[in-house]
Amino acid sequence: MVFTDAMRAIAHKELSDKLKSRWVIVIGSGFALFTLVISYFGGAPAGVTGFMSLDATIASLTSLVTYFIPILALTLGGGIIADEQEKGTLGIYLASPISVGEFIIGKFTGLVIALVLSIVAGLGVAGIMLFFRTGTEAVGTFLVFIINSVLLGVTFLSVSFLISIIFYERTKVIALTICIWLLFTILYDLGLIGLLIVTKGSIGTEAFSMLLLLNPVDIYRILNFISIGEFQVLIGLASVEFPAYIRTSMLWGISMIWIIAPLGISYYYFKKRYLE
C-alpha cells in the first residue's frame, strides 16, 4: 500500500498531538529516570551498586520494560475510535475519499512514531551511560535490546487498536486494556507455572517453549535472554532450555505476526461495522 498524503496527514496529526501534549517528553523522561535508577541500583540485591555491565543492565531493564511498555502502548492506542466518536469527527473521516486501511495505518503510524521516540529517549539514556563505560562494544547489543523493546511496544499498540475498534466505548476499552495487560504480563506466566506444577514437569521443554511463544511478553523475555546469556536468572528464565530452532530472527518474525494480525483483524472489524 502506498503511503498516501491523507495517511501522512492523519499520522502527523496523531504524532503532533502526542508532542504538543508533551506525552512523548513526559513518558520519555519518566522512562529515562527509571532506566537510570535501575541501571545504577539493579545490582543492589547482590550488594553492588553503580552502573553495571551490559548484560546485567539489560536484565534489569527487561523487568522494567516488561511491565511498563505494554501498559503504555495499550493506553496510547485504546482511545483511537472512542476519541473520534466523542468529538464527532469519525463521520468526517468515513465520508472522506480514504479507505479504512488508510485511516487505520495513518493513525497507527503516528502513534508508533510517538511510542518509538519515547522508548528510544528513555532507554537511550542508559545506552549513553553504557557507551561511556564500555565503549562501542556494547552499542550493538544495546541497539538490539531497544529494537526488542520497540517490537514489544508496537505489538501492544496493535492489540490496543483491536480492542478500541471492537469495543468502541471508552469504559469497556479501559477495562479490557487492564485485563489484557494483567493477562500477558502476570497471569499467563502464573498459569504456565501452575501447569508445570499440575503436570509435575511432564509437559516437556518443547511444548513449554511453544506456550511461551504465544505470549508477546515472553517472546520479549526470550529475545533478551538470547542476547545476554549468563544473566538469564534475572529475567526469570534460568531453568528453561529452549530448542535450538528458537532464534532471534524467528522471534522477531513472531513479533511481526503479533503486530500485523491484530491490525488485520481491526481492519476487518472496522470495515464490517461500517461498510457491510
Binding site: A6, I10, K13, K87, G91, I92, P97, E276
Partner: protein, 299 residues
Amino acid sequence: MILKLQDISKSYEQIKAVEMVSLEIKEGEAMGLVGPNGSGKSTLLKIMLGIIRPSAGKVLVNGEVLSEKGWKEFKRSVGYMPERVSFYDNLTGNETLKLFARVKGGSLSNMKDVIGRLLSEDVLHRKVGGYSKGMRQRLNLAQALVNEPRFLVLDEPTSGLDPVGTREFYDILDEVRERKKLTVVLSSHILAEIEEKIDRVAVMKNGSLKAVGRLEELCEGMNIPLRIYLTIHGKDELLEGLLMREGAVDIGYKNGYLLASIPRGNKLELISAIMEEKDRFSDLSIREPSLEEVFFGLH
C-alpha cells in the same frame, strides 16, 4: 450528478432504522430531510455518503451502482457536515482545516474566499478549544467545503445555535450555495427553519418516507386548509356567520384577529363574499400552511 436511493433498508440487529426508502436528489437542488429525532434521517444521510452500507436496496450515482473504487471517487465530490462536532481542542481552526483538506485531497487556497467568509483570520489562528458553539459550526461547514464539493450534506446544521447564529449560518450557506452551485441535502427537525432554504422536502417517520415533493405540491395534494386573518375590534357575529356559510372551520379570536381555516377550493368565493363586508374589518391576510403544518398533517 444525480443521486438515487432505491428501496433502501437498514437494520441494526432487530431494529429497523430505515425501511424501503426510495428518493432521488437532482443536480443543483436543495432537498430538505425532515422528521422527528429517531426517524432515520441521520442513518439515511450516512447511507447516501457511503459511511454505512444499506441492509437492502441500492445507491445509484448517475444511474450506476458504486463499486469500492466508485465510492472513493464519489466521496471526492462530497462535503459532509455531521451533527455536533467539537473537533480537536489542541488544534487551531486553520490546522483543523488543513488536516481535513489533506484527508479529502482538497486545498485551502482554492476555498480561501469561502473560508474567509465563515471565519476571520484571527479566529482561524486560535485554538478550537476556545471556540464558541457558533464558531465550531462555522468551522464544521468550512471543513465540509474544503474539497470544493458539488454535493453537500448537512445533518442538523444549526442544532444548538441561537436564533441569530442560525440566521447567520443560513445566510452564509445561501451565499456559498449560490456561488458554488451546490446540490444540498439538509436534515432538520426544526421544520420552519429550513422551509425557505429548500426546493423539495422529504418527510420521514419511523424509518419510512412519508412524502416527497415541493412544499406547495404537498400542501395541495393533502388539501391542507388555508388560514385567514381578519383584523377587527371585538367580536363580529355577522362575519363569523359569513365565514361559516363559506365552509370555514376552526373559527376563533386571538390578539385582535378573527381567525378561520378555509378550504383551498373556496378561497376566491370566500374573499369576494368577505369583501362585501369590508367595512367590518381593517385588514385581511391569508397564510399558506407552514412546513410544520404539512409535516404534522402527515403524522
